[in-house]
């Protein structure tokens, strides 16, 4: 069955909610309306208002209620209308959800999910990638799928996970990514495992989210034009990070390029670089490089947003620089 990325997210929630009555979802405009992106359309009818809860505009209250419900054994999913609106819940996530198991022994297995990312001409507040705001917060897990298959399998695992998971779905992929996903296939992908999106031996390109496709495009172009194969590793889970997979690939290729859509300074590439330096320094035949957005908010006007976002051409340039090193 041809399934979009969006439909995969929807099906993951349907599957888990049908299988486990303790799974429920809260958010703004998710019940009556079916969500700003219509991901939960029909959920209210199937599961009733107790399990599909329209809330006031209050992200901290939503996440807070999820923590309490998780303490009681429920499995809450919180929808942020846009992931940018996770910011008003920052304190609740960082200081309550992330720390509560460590402090008290009582965990908070919950999922916070919402549309992230640019390319939709949606301006500074509907386009952000927020993973780095939470990267230094022990107690959280973070997921950023690129394919429909992964979106489904990782969301199901996230819902089952006993700890708080931030699940970033890239809105640019919602309807653009289409895959054949068997209707009844039990897709369940463990958190913390990267995926080799494209095999290669000349250079390791580590990325995640929507950038996987630009990386692939760049790798194909380099393969066609230069006859050299780039390995594209899709992290899928940002925390726990699959350091083993990254290190193994770098040991094979000797070169590392990291690509992410968030701005450069303080971005997630830093942590990857640090870990590779620690664990595979001797295998590096060239400096580790990163291609990222520039260090600004996400601008609105198309020429500006296009300049802001990393483009295939940038990746090709960086890859060639590394290959020639």
């Amino acid at each position: 069955m041809t399934t979009t990325y969006l439909e995969a997210i929807r099906r993951a929630m349907l599957t888990e909610m049908r299988a486990d009555p303790s799974v429920f979802i809260m958010g703004e405009d998710i019940a009556n309306y079916g969500g700003a992106f219509k991901i939960t359309e029909g959920f209210l009818e199937e599961f009733g208002p107790e399990r599909v809860v329209d809330t006031p505009i209050s992200e901290a209250a939503i996440v807070g209620a999820a923590i309490g419900a998780a303490h009681m054994g429920l499995k809450p999913i919180c929808e942020m209308q846009f992931i940018d609106f996770i910011a008003p819940a920052f304190d609740m996530i960082v200081n309550f959800a992330a720390k509560v198991r460590y402090r008290t022994g009582v965990g908070a297995g919950l999922v916070i999910r919402g549309p992230c990312g640019g390319g939709a001409r949606a301006g500074p507040f509907h386009s952000q990638n927020v993973e780095s705001y939470f990267a230094n917060v022990p107690g959280l897990k973070m997921v950023a799928p690129a394919t429909a298959h992964d979106a489904m399998g990782l969301l199901r695992s996230s819902i089952r996970d006993p700890d708080p998971v931030l699940y970033f779905e890239h809105k640019f992929l919602y309807r653009r990514v289409k895959e054949d996903l068997p209707e009844n296939e039990d897709v369940l992908i463990p958190l913390g495992k990267a995926r080799t999106h494209r095999e290669g031996d000349a250079l390791t390109l580590v990325t995640y989210g929507a950038m996987v496709y630009k990386a692939e495009e760049a790798a194909d172009r380099v393969a066609n034009q230069d006859g050299v194969e780039i390995e594209v590793l899709d992290l899928r889970t940002l925390r726990p990070l699959d350091t083993d997979a990254i290190v193994a690939s770098v040991m094979k290729t000797g070169r590392l390029l990291i690509v992410h859509e968030a701005p450069r300074f303080g971005g997630f590439a830093g942590e990857i670089t640090a870990q590779v330096c620690e664990e595979a320094f001797e295998w590096l035949d060239a400096p580790i490089r990163r291609v990222t957005a520039i260090d600004t908010p996400v601008p609105y006007s198309p020429p500006l947003e296009d300049y802001f976002l990393p483009q295939t051409e940038d990746i090709v340039t960086a890859a060639r620089w590394l290959l020639a090193y």
Partner: protein, 334 residues
């Protein structure tokens, strides 16, 4: 005032067309049916006062003097727009006109406007501030902190709650146990004025009363304007959840038709004069649209400017195409 009501609606109609034609690329949130709230209350302000519009307050911004062409430049993401193409919708701040733009996260704008009001107070100025919030936005933590802060510090500020029955798809009754929104300010010891938000004269009157209080140094006032959002939340919203009878009922209370009737009945204006206002507005707005569409989009490199108050943007090597080589290119040990 009639002119501003007409300008508001007509300008939004043009923006809607521009959206359909692909010239407006972000979202568009209309104030159809509730124009009187913004226009009427904003009339109460004087030179030097500040106004912080919410998403549905184009009317207030026009009253404050923002030229329509700036609005079109903004929505069409042009370099010459008030945000230079860097932000969308009504997110512009224009110091000369005393306009403080919102950000998308609801509620925070009030907190920021408090700082403007605090500055007035500290400088011994009698200038005042006015802002708008949907009833949905009042549920945010930031809105609460903002109103409590304004009340505690007795800031010269007027908050207009636009109770338009909907927060996106969510009915206000469904998601707050408050029956009368005029009860909300009681939690802050702030006086409330309830007003028919579709009656532009009543809105102006409420505005004048609240602004005078603030100007006298008697602190904040909340105006609760009862109105109705006559379209979906945004242009992409099919609004199927909105009951047809309710829409019909409120259509009968259209603020522009109503004020037009009043002006004619009172003999304050003739049909010919009304018509010529409409023609003038059309001409003004057509020119604004033409001018905006002829204006240039920003240059890509402009994306890098203005993050800090620095003469030169940071160089961000390795993110841009072939022209830019990383400094590392030179850093091979010799």
């Amino acid at each position: 005032m009639f002119r501003d009501l007409v300008r508001t609606r007509a300008l939004e109609e043009r923006l809607e067309n521009l959206l359909k034609q692909g010239h407006v690329v972000g979202g568009l949130y209309r104030s159809l049916g509730q124009e009187a709230t913004a226009v009427g209350t904003a009339m109460a302000l004087d030179d030097g006062d500040w106004l912080a519009p919410s998403i549905r307050d184009l009317g207030a911004v026009l009253v404050r003097g923002l030229p329509p062409v700036d609005v079109v430049l903004q929505y069409t993401a042009r370099a010459a727009g008030p945000c230079s193409g860097k932000d969308n919708t009504n997110h512009y701040t224009v110091v000369d006109l005393g306009i403080l733009g919102p950000v998308s996260p609801l509620g925070t704008q009030l907190c920021v406007l408090n700082g403007v009001a605090l500055t007035f107070r500290n400088r011994g100025s009698d200038r005042v501030c006015m802002t708008y919030q949907g009833e949905g936005a009042t549920r945010t933590g930031a809105s609460h902190e903002g109103l409590a802060f304004a009340s505690a510090l007795r800031l010269p500020i007027v908050v207009v709650i636009e109770h338009n029955r909907w927060a996106f798809s969510t009915r206000s009754e469904q998601l707050a146990a408050v029956r009368d929104w005029a009860d909300v300010p009681k939690a802050y010891g702030v006086p409330t004025i309830s007003v028919d938000g579709n009656d532009v004269l009543a809105c102006r009157e409420a505005g004048v009363e609240a602004v005078s209080r603030a100007r006298r140094g008697d602190g904040p006032t909340v105006i609760v304007a009862e109105t109705y959002r006559m379209v979906g939340h945004a242009q992409h919203d099919p609004q199927s959840y909105m009951p047809a009878e309710e829409l019909e009922e409120w259509r009968g209370r259209d603020p522009i038709a109503r004020y037009e009737r009043y002006l004619l009945e009172q003999g304050l204006i003739t049909s010919d004069e009304l018509l010529s206002i409409r023609h003038e507005v059309d001409a003004e707005l057509d020119a604004a649209v033409d001018q905006a569409l002829a204006a240039a989009m920003p240059q890509p490199l402009e994306a890098r400017t203005r993050v800090y108050d620095a003469p030169e943007p940071d160089v961000t090597p390795w993110t841009r195409g072939p022209g830019v080589a990383g400094p590392g290119a030179a850093l091979v040990r010799t």
